[in-house]
């Protein structure tokens, strides 16, 4: 027999628009406006999933984003499937397919349910305690733990949807469009402020919009109808923008907020094509008004987690808003008046209420009298002690509470039901407020934390500020806005209000039971299966800090961040440890408020846009000539140019040989270039480099080494004196921006008296480097007017020249040890100059080479690469580069550090050459170097920094850093590898042409 749970009226429902969807393979029907939760409830489906640890059956508990249990896997395809979607938030659309998570083989029969029976063996910290030893077994445990853990499945294919980021600036941002948010929006916008109102739900009006009772009136109208008129009015306001389905995820300092606008998740799949799915809004607001409302508290009693147990306010929302009855035999359990509002709603709709259990003794309340008029039995001063029904609640046990609320007394009464609504009062949703750095205070009267100290220009209003009843909201909202916005009055200053809620509440964090605590399962965190017993155990084991208890018991660590139960956890800790709530404080709420998809976070920064990359002006040529590329910083650099079937090794060997035997050509455009001008330019270089610069003649080049103030090598490169007061400095490719920043720093802060100006020209000039014995012939054909004789144009000098009409700077400098020229031209001419060199070099087998060959060639010469052969612990002395450190200069950056007690140690790691005993054995870069393989523990002396097979020397060469290596020349060391130990001899790091004959060849 199918029950008829769909009611005639549902505020959000369009009954003319039927939608079919699938849940766990079965087809169901709902209406437009339904959430997956309301549609399932209308079909009498309560069992949605299994809990995380004990695999207990769980159902829908709430009607909002705080939902801990009803989380589902959405879509079946491997690119769009999405885990952990809250059934209470997703709007149904034609073709929706959802399934239960954390169960196998099915939600109705789940093998993991055995954990529920084993639960006495699975206390808090079980994993920590059990799988710690023996340590070697961890890998075996891990396999099983990982397999049984986790909620839902991740997609395995790339996300096909489009996501965007958008910046928004406004005068006032209002978060939450309940009654107080609507009022604030109208006041702000009408006072000329550019206002943005965001609401996570599809519709405005919060819970007041369906408040339809004679007990709550504004200006003699039902509060719901009054609010509806207000909403219609604000929709017409010009400087108010309203965004629904928009959830604020994070509230950072200086009123910077992130919100996720959901644009297509409610549409049928075939209507989503080419539309942006989510937008991440980056909002900067002058003022922020938080009107995020409050979340109803559950109550903590034995077996309080069964399907069919919902928050009382959720039952009301499902009935009033979605037109769905959650059950036919309803019982409400409360400690305050708000459950009676639910009762009145259900009575109005003819839904049967079996009984109401109220913790409180006699309370003078109009709402209670109204319920009593309808002959509904109210058990006053009672509590629930237990429930039964495995896949759906069917019975509850109740007993009377003792006067102090610590015990149960009298005899047990059993009541049957198919749905239980609980109301433990309300918790202000202060998550965003505390994310922003706000400080809370504890209000003893009704045991809530409310905003106290605002860290930025913001205001909390409505129930997130602790105003829970209609009269409090209507009175306090306009008042606080008058003060906050500095205005004279609002249109809401003289409302006629009828509000019938009695504010009394009997708060008991952990309800007593006739059983001992150890025999109960009173869930505090539903999603992570943390019980009151677990929290008490943690305290017995010595945990005191709320943050520690949280981590040990995992309370509040689920995807819902414990929105329902965190307060109870605090309350139980407070009572057990005898500490005051206000002093305990809350755990930290962290962004995002509700989970975000990765797509939303990355936006359009996917694929080739994930990280920007820089291309040289010759890049296209490299692509056409089939270069493989290497990432260097953000640059794409040609790595090597394989011919036909060549692998990397073969290509590099060929390129290296060609460069030494005839001619090679390299795109060196990525080197950092800094133009330095000013009357103190020479003095400036004296201070930033270790060597002396004053005597460098105009037209000459010099290699410089730059240190950090701690004496460690920071950067290197060749600087050329273009004129009396004009230099061009080159830096390493990766270090360019940092060097520029560092030089600016010193100029602006330490030496402002120096007349020096720095300009980054890295992108303005491109560099074509031609090297090899035939380089002169090639370059002189490209630039026929220039005198290339050694007398006129020696090594380490520079000339201005013209290639046709193109101005260029030619430097005769070398990073390969070969006779070589670097032609610098304005970037847009670079490709044509490169092609001219290629043309001129045709007869000389000019060979383009990439970074790998460059590295090999310089290693043959023992030239360092900063960042490869050095890390931030190498001084020039460690590098055996004493020759470049000026003894005469009074000061330069890092000088004083070169004779600190630590930097003058003889046994520092020093750069040496390494030659393998077997000349064909090529070492692995990063491999450790040891002297004595039999010593235990083996003493690590250093590691290999660069290693290649040199085609020119026909043997393996390597550079490495070795402790005290300077004095180990000729000594044998060992590189222990996985399969064998390799013997090496410490050698001079210059392997080729120590006399530098080739520079002038």
């Amino acid at each position: 027999m199918t029950k008829n749970l769909r009611l005639k009226t549902g505020k959000a429902i369009d009954e003319t628009y039927r939608i079919s969807f699938k849940f766990n393979g079965s087809t169901y029907y709902g209406f437009k406006g339904d959430t997956l939760a309301s549609a399932l409830l209308a079909n009498d489906v309560h069992l949605i999933g299994r809990s995380f640890k004990y695999h207990r059956p769980r159902g829908i508990m709430t009607a909002g984003s705080e939902e801990p249990n009803a989380i589902v896997q959405l879509h079946n395809d491997s690119s769009r499937t999405e885990p952990n979607v809250r059934a209470t938030e997703i709007e149904i659309y034609e073709g929706l397919e959802a399934s239960s998570q954390n169960c196998w083989p099915s939600v109705k029969f789940d093998i993991g349910g055995i954990n529920n029976l084993l639960s006495p063996l699975l206390p808090a910290g079980f994993y920590y305690k059990t799988f710690m030893w023996p340590a070697s077994f961890w890998e075996k445990y891990e396999y099983f733990i990982r397999r049984s853990a986790g909620l839902g499945k991740s997609p395995t294919k790339p996300d096909p949807d489009i996501y965007e980021h958008k910046y928004i600036h406004c005068d006032v941002l209002i978060i939450g469009a309940g009654i107080s948010g609507i009022m604030a929006a109208k006041i702000a916008a009408k006072n000329g402020l550019k206002t943005l109102l965001v609401e996570e739900k599809p519709n405005l009006g919060g819970s007041t919009i369906y408040q339809n009772s004679d007990h709550f009136k504004i200006n003699n109208q039902n509060s719901g109808s009054w609010l509806e008129k207000e909403i219609n009015e604000i929709k017409k306001l010009k400087n108010l923008e309203i965004k629904t389905r928009t959830s604020v995820a994070a509230y950072h300092g200086y009123n910077f907020l992130l919100a996720r606008e959901n644009l297509t998740d409610h549409l049928p799949i075939n209507q989503r094509k080419n539309k942006t799915r989510h937008k991440l809004l980056k909002i900067r607001a002058n003022k922020v008004i938080t009107a995020t409302g409050s979340i109803e508290r559950p109550m903590i009693f034995d077996n309080n987690d069964r399907p069919g147990i919902l928050l009382s306010s959720a039952i009301k929302r499902f009935a009033d808003y979605f037109g769905v009855a959650c059950g036919e035999k309803n019982i409400l359990f409360t400690n305050n008046d708000s459950a009676y509002e639910t009762a009145i709603s259900l009575v109005q709709k003819g839904i049967n209420i079996e009984a109401i259990i109220d913790n409180r003794e006699e309370v003078n309340s109009k709402l209670i009298y109204e319920v009593e008029k309808n002959n509904i039995k109210i058990y006053k001063g009672y509590t629930i002690t237990d429930t039964s029904g495995y896949k759906r609640i069917n019975k509850i046990s109740i007993m009377q509470l003792s006067k102090d609320g610590q015990k149960v007394v009298g005899s047990k009464i059993i009541l049957s039901c198919d749905c239980l609504g609980v109301s433990g009062g309300w918790t202000p949703a202060v998550h965003l407020f505390t994310q922003s750095g706000g400080k809370l205070k504890f209000r003893e009267d009704d045991q809530v934390f409310i905003p106290n100290i605002y860290p930025s220009d913001q205001l909390s209003i409505g129930s997130c500020n602790g105003d829970f009843t209609l009269d409090e909201i209507l009175l306090n909202t306009p008042k606080s806005l008058i003060e906050y916005l500095n205005i004279k009055n609002t249109e809401y200053d003289n409302l006629e209000i009828l509000s019938s809620t009695n504010k009394s509440k009997r708060n008991i964090w952990l309800l007593p039971s006739d059983k001992i605590l150890g025999k109960t399962k009173s869930f505090v965190d539903y999603q992570n299966d943390a019980t009151a017993k677990d929290i008490k155990l943690a305290l017995r084991e010595g945990f005191r800090s709320i943050e520690h208890v949280k981590r040990y018991t995992t309370t509040g660590m689920g995807t819902d961040q414990g929105k329902l139960g965190n307060m109870h956890a605090l309350g139980i800790i407070s009572e057990t440890a005898g500490a005051k709530m206000g002093e305990l404080g809350t755990t930290t709420f962290r962004p995002p408020y509700t989970p975000l998809t990765f797509g939303t976070i990355v936006g359009r920064n996917v694929g080739e846009y994930f990280d920007i990359f820089r291309k040289t002006p010759i890049h296209d040529w490299h692509v056409i000539h089939k270069a493989e590329f290497e990432n260097v910083g953000q640059w794409k650099r040609a790595w090597y140019y394989p011919k036909e079937n060549e692998n990397m090794h073969e290509a590099v060997q060929r390129e290296s040989k060609a460069a030494r035997e005839s001619a090679g050509i390299l795109d060196a455009s990525t080197l950092g270039k800094i133009d330095i001008q000013g009357t103190d330019a020479s003095e400036f270089l004296n201070r930033v480099y270790t060597n002396a610069w004053s005597k460098l003649a105009v037209g000459k080049c010099r290699y410089g080494l730059m240190l950090n103030e701690d004496g460690m090598v920071y950067d290197d490169g060749v600087t050329t004196r273009l004129g009396e007061n004009h230099y061009i400095m080159t830096t390493t490719t990766g270090g360019a921006a940092n060097v520029m920043g560092k030089l600016e720093d010193y100029l602006q802060t330490e030496w402002p008296e120096l007349d020096v100006y720095l300009t980054s020209v890295t992108d303005h000039f491109a560099t074509v480097s031609v090297c090899g014995p035939n380089s002169k012939k090639i370059v002189s054909e490209v630039i026929p007017d220039l005198d290339f004789s050694d007398e006129s144009f020696p090594h380490m000098s520079f000339k201005n020249a013209k290639i046709g009409k193109i101005n260029c700077r030619v430097m005769r400098i070398s990073f390969t040890g070969e006779h070589s020229y670097e032609i610098n031209v304005q970037a847009n001419y670079a490709k044509s100059v490169w092609e001219k060199c290629m043309e001129a070099g045709k007869d000389f087998n000019i060979t383009p080479y990439g970074t790998e060959t460059m590295h090999l060639l310089r290693a043959e010469k023992g030239f360092i690469i900063v960042g490869q052969d050095t890390d931030a612990t190498m001084t020039p002395i460690d590098l055996q580069m004493d020759w470049i450190v000026s003894k005469k200069k009074y000061d330069f950056i890092g000088k004083r550090s070169l004779y600190r007690s630590d930097t003058i140690r003889e046994d520092r790691k020093q750069l040496v050459g390494l030659l393998t005993e077997n000349p064909n054995e090529v070492l692995e870069e990063g491999a450790q170097i040891v002297a004595d393989i039999n010593k235990s523990p083996i003493e690590m002396l250093g590691h290999v920094t660069s290693s290649y097979y040199s085609p020119n020397l026909k043997k393996s060469i390597a550079l490495g850093v070795v402790r005290g290596g300077k004095n180990m020349m000729g000594q044998k060391l060992i590189i222990p590898m996985e399969k064998k130990n390799i013997s090496v001899i410490v050698a001079d790091p210059v392997f080729l042409d120590k006399e530098n004959k080739r520079l002038n060849a």
């Binding site: 900067r284 602006q748 402002p752």
Partner: protein
């Protein structure tokens, strides 16, 4: 994310700036005459205050100027910004 009032450009997003550590540490004029300990004091020792801290900031993706900032590290409130070479504001 802060909004920083660059003394040269006005209010800009924090993402345009780079933090440069503690301010008002002057590089010794004669480093060679310092003992190891004195040099180490300049080189390594930095305060990490909970409360009012004087910091150097660089408008790296803007005017590239360095300037000083007074910031309360406990709540990230920027109390003042002032140019290099200027004296820190009293209080």
């Amino acid at each position: 994310m802060f909004i920083i009032n660059c003394p040269y450009c006005g209010e800009r997003e924090q993402s345009e700036f780079k933090a440069g550590g503690e301010a008002h540490i002057v590089r010794p004029k004669q480093p060679t005459e310092l003992s190891d300990d004195e040099w180490a004091e300049y080189l390594f020792m930095r305060k990490n205050i909970k409360g009012i801290q004087f910091e150097r900031w660089n408008h790296a993706h803007g005017c590239r100027k360095w300037f000083n900032m007074v910031r309360d590290t406990s709540n990230d409130e920027i109390k003042a910004v002032y140019k290099m070479g200027e004296k820190p504001p009293v209080e």
